[in-house]
């Protein structure tokens, strides 16, 4: 087994007086998409935010290519090559699409070839390149948020519920885009509620509940095992199928 790209062990996170994560352990292998599933309030978003340094882990270690992220600040973590697509998309509404992408670029300006590739994935962004991002539709904002994360090659992408509130046609567009992303070097850790989406993209999977990891394995195995799904994801699953 190769060394995983990212591994969490015994991560505890408290927000104010609330204890959210109770010793989270799991690893993200290099390459492909690892799905992080679980019902509402299981601690998925908190896990991503803790990796990103937006909330501090009270205990435990988060190793990324041999560096302990738990001791770094958010900008330092980002500079190691980790991109974050938050649940609320984190779009700068007052800035144009172009300006949003410029800010996500460390170089002076976005690489034109890469930009064309992104426009291929999300044609809407080309069309509205000079428009204030606040004017975009929800789906387009989600595209911009993902585009920001891939405007330069990154080693790891943390994506929080990219399908939330999107129309089915746009979800299909998202699936196509992530399939394309899987062919690049980037590793993706993706939080999802939509099982259909997870099933069609995931390589590995980790399932959370009550601030702990309950199950890890291959996505295919989970997709094939109805009982396991029922046990891990509970009633929540029915609502989505």
């Amino acid at each position: 087994m190769a060394e995983p790209l990212l591994s969490l062990s015994g991560v505890n996170t408290k927000i104010g007086r609330y204890h959210i994560l109770h010793g989270v352990d799991f690893a993200v292998p290099k390459g492909g998409i690892t799905m992080l599933l679980g019902r509402n309030g299981a601690g998925k978003t908190t896990t991503l935010r803790t990796i990103m340094g937006l909330w501090r882990a009270a205990e435990g270690s988060i190793r990324f290519e041999g560096t302990d992220l738990a001791r770094l600040s958010t900008p330092e973590i980002a500079r190691l090559g980790i991109a974050y697509v938050p649940e609320n998309m984190g779009i700068f509404a007052d800035l144009t699409v172009r300006e949003n992408l410029v800010l996500a670029t460390r170089e002076r300006a976005p690489d034109p070839r890469r930009l064309q590739w992104i426009f291929g994935l999300f044609p809407a962004l080309e069309k509205f390149y000079a428009l204030a991002a606040g004017a975009l539709s929800g789906g387009q904002k989600q595209m911009l948020s993902i585009a920001r994360a891939i405007i330069e090659p990154r080693k790891l992408m943390l994506v929080d519920e990219p399908t939330k509130g999107l129309a089915p046609s746009i979800i299909r567009n998202m699936i196509a885009a992530f399939r394309e992303l899987k062919r690049t070097e980037t590793t993706i850790l993706l939080v999802e509620q939509n099982f259909m989406f997870a099933e069609s993209l995931g390589d590995g999977v980790a399932v959370m509940d009550d601030g702990k990891i309950r199950h890890t394995g291959a996505m295919q195995a989970l997709a094939a095992d109805r009982d396991l799904q029922q046990r891990l994801l509970g009633l929540h699953l029915d609502a989505h199928q």
Partner: protein, 340 residues
């Protein structure tokens, strides 16, 4: 939740964002409404220019404060100190170089003004840096303590001005070229007010340029909206914040210089006295918005000048009324800043 029909797929045109012109129209509307009330056109012109000049000065003083608040949720109640210190810095130049101030040469006069501005801005900028480190940083994110401690900083700094400059008011006449007034038609317009309007417009234009055309400016705007995401993109927002704090303090210093020559008398409390107007301005404009701050400054100053002429006894009350009316219309101010 976006529930788009499938037909309006990913490339459908989004609804065009309408530029919000209404607040901008308020300024000419207010001026036009005042004309029949004032009665005479020359009198109205004098009042309007006076209002615009005062508004520009308030804008210079307030702009830094609103940006600092927008970016980091820090409201510096001691901001007025930088205004006072900027004003007192004038004495460092004007007293030793009195001959240049009185010289009958526009060039020399302008040179003196520039020198005052540079010295004041360097001084207040440096002080802003120290203030941020010593006073603001330790109470970061705790609003109650922040208000108390910045207030404390103001008390101490104001007392230090007393120590360094003595307790008596100091008189600083503006340079020769900017004294007196010019006649436009029948209206007498004070030269210094024209200068104040010009400087204010220049500062506003420069700010817009920086905010819209440079990466730093983009970062500031993005940070005002969502500081966390700026960090997640790999930028240290603390550094950005310190930069904006220093720049805001320096601008307050510049405003202090302009204010000093306008009032022509320096007292250590002069900064704190304008703070009330500044608070009204940034509330009216929308906390964190530079454009709102600009419009708010003009509105507040025009209202103050018109009512000062029409009903002098209620002049400051009129600003409170203005604030209440605008907050009733837009509870977040003229240009609310989108937050997360």
């Amino acid at each position: 939740m976006t529930t788009m029909p499938a037909a309006r797929s990913a490339t459908a045109a989004p609804p065009a964002i309408k530029r919000d012109w209404l607040p901008i129209l308020l300024v000419p509307a207010l001026a036009a409404a005042a004309l029949p009330l004032v009665g005479s056109f020359p009198g109205w012109l004098t009042l309007t220019v006076a209002g615009l000049a005062m508004g520009m000065m308030i804008f210079i003083m307030a702009s830094g404060l609103t940006l600092v608040f927008g970016l980091m949720d820090v409201l510096n109640f001691g901001h007025g100190v930088f205004i006072s210190i900027g004003a007192f810095a004038v004495t460092l130049i004007v007293l030793p170089l009195a001959t240049l101030v009185q010289a009958d040469s526009v060039l020399m006069n302008v040179a003196v003004l520039l020198l005052c501005a540079v010295v004041a801005m360097v001084l207040t900028g440096a002080l802003g840096w120290a203030f941020e480190r010593a006073i603001v940083r330790p109470v970061y994110g705790q609003h109650l303590k922040q208000i108390l401690v910045t207030m404390g900083g103001m008390i101490v700094a104001e007392q230090l001005i007393h120590v360094l400059w003595g307790a008596d008011p100091i008189s600083v006449p503006p340079p020769e070229a900017f004294r007196g007034s010019v006649l436009i038609g029948e209206a007498a317009i004070e030269r210094y007010r024209i200068l104040a309007v010009a400087v204010g417009l220049a500062v506003f234009a420069a700010m817009l340029l920086v905010l819209n055309r440079t990466k730093i400016g983009l970062l500031i705007r993005a940070g005002v909206e969502n500081g966390e995401m700026v960090e997640a993109l790999g930028y240290r927002i603390r550094r950005l914040f310190v930069g904006v704090f220093v720049a805001g303090s320096a601008l307050a210093g510049l405003g202090g210089v302009m204010w000093a020559f306008y009032r022509q008398t320096l007292t250590p409390g002069m900064g704190m006295e304008v703070m009330v107007l500044i608070f009204i301005v940034i509330i009216v404009g929308g906390l964190g918005s530079v454009g709102g701050c600009f419009l708010g400054s003009l509105l507040v100053a025009l209202v103050a000048n018109y009512t000062g002429f029409l009903a002098p006894k209620v002049a400051l009350g009129s600003n409170i009324l203005l604030m209440v009316l605008i907050l009733m219309w837009r509870p977040q101010g003229l240009y609310p800043v989108a937050k997360r």
